[in-house]
Symmetry: none
Subunit: 78 residues, 4 copies
DNA sequence: ACAGAAATAAAAATGC
DNA sequence: GCATTTTTATTTCTGT
C-alpha cells in the first residue's frame, strides 16, 4: 500500500479554504454587529431574523418552482 | 459520587421509544412500497418526491406566515 | 405528438404519500416530545438514543441469525 | 395608544442583512465547490476539514496568548 | 455492487 | 442552563 500526496496542491487547497473561512468569519461578524446595533436601537432581534428568513424562503420557493418545472420537463423528455 | 437510576421509569421510557421507532419504520416502509409501485407503473420517483416536498413546503410557508405574525404581535406587545 | 398523463392516478399517489408524510411527522414529533420529557426528568438524551439504537441493532442481528439458520435448514432439508 | 414604526430604518436594516446573507451564501457555496474539486482530485474531505479547523484553532490560540501577554505587560507597565 | 447525492441523526456551538 | 442554530457524521437512496 502506498499513499502519494501532492503537497504543493494540498498547500494551495488549504490556503484557499483558510481564506474562505476568513471571509465567512467576516460576514458572520458583520451580521452580528448589525444585529447588535439594531437591538440597541430598539428592534427585536428575533423578529428581524424571522423576517429575513421568510424573505429568503419566498425567494427560494420561486427557484424551487422553476426546478420542479425543469424536473417535469426532464421526466417527460420534453 | 453516586448515580441513582429509576429503572422502572427507564424501562418504561425505552419501551415507549422502541415502539415509536417501530411506528416510524412502518411508515417508512409503507412509503418505500408506494414509491416502488409508482415506479413500476411508469412514474418518475424523483419527480414524485419533489412534488411532495414542494406541497409540504407550501403548507409550511403558510404556517410560517402565521408564526411571523404572531412574532410581530409579541414584539409589539399587542 | 401527444402526451397523456393519468392525473387521477397521480393525484391519488400524491395524496397517499402526503398522508404518509403526515404520519411520519407525527411519529417524529412524538419521539421529540418523549425525549424532552425524559430530559426534564433527568435522563441523558444522548445515552437514551444510544440504548435504543443498540437494542434495535441486537434485535436485527438476532432476526438475521434466525433467517440464516432457516436458510441452512431448508438447504439441508432438515 | 399609538404605535410608531420607523419603516425606513427597518427596511434599511432588512436590506443590509439580506445582502449579508447573500454574501454568506456565496462564501459557503465557494467552499462547497472547493471541497468538491478537492474530492475529485482524490483528497479526503473529512481530513481536509479537520486540518483547516486545527490550523484556525492554533492561530486563535496564538492570538489569545498574545492578548494575554499584552494584558500582563499593560498591568505591569512594562 | 458501488459511487455519488440526498436525507437523517448526532454533536457542537452560540445566544439569551 | 436551556434552547435554538450550525456543523459534522452516518445512513439511505438512486442510477450506473
Amino acid at each position: 500500500m502506498s499513499i502519494v500526496i501532492e503537497t504543493g496542491m494540498l498547500k494551495q487547497l488549504v490556503d484557499k479554504l483558510d481564506r474562505l473561512e476568513d471571509d465567512k468569519k467576516n460576514v458572520l461578524d458583520d451580521m452580528k454587529t448589525v444585529y447588535n446595533e439594531a437591538k440597541s436601537q430598539g428592534f427585536d432581534v428575533k423578529t428581524l431574523k424571522k423576517i429575513i428568513k421568510m424573505r429568503r424562503m419566498d425567494r427560494n420557493k420561486l427557484e424551487e418552482d422553476d426546478a420542479l418545472l425543469e424536473t417535469y420537463r426532464n421526466a417527460l423528455g420534453v
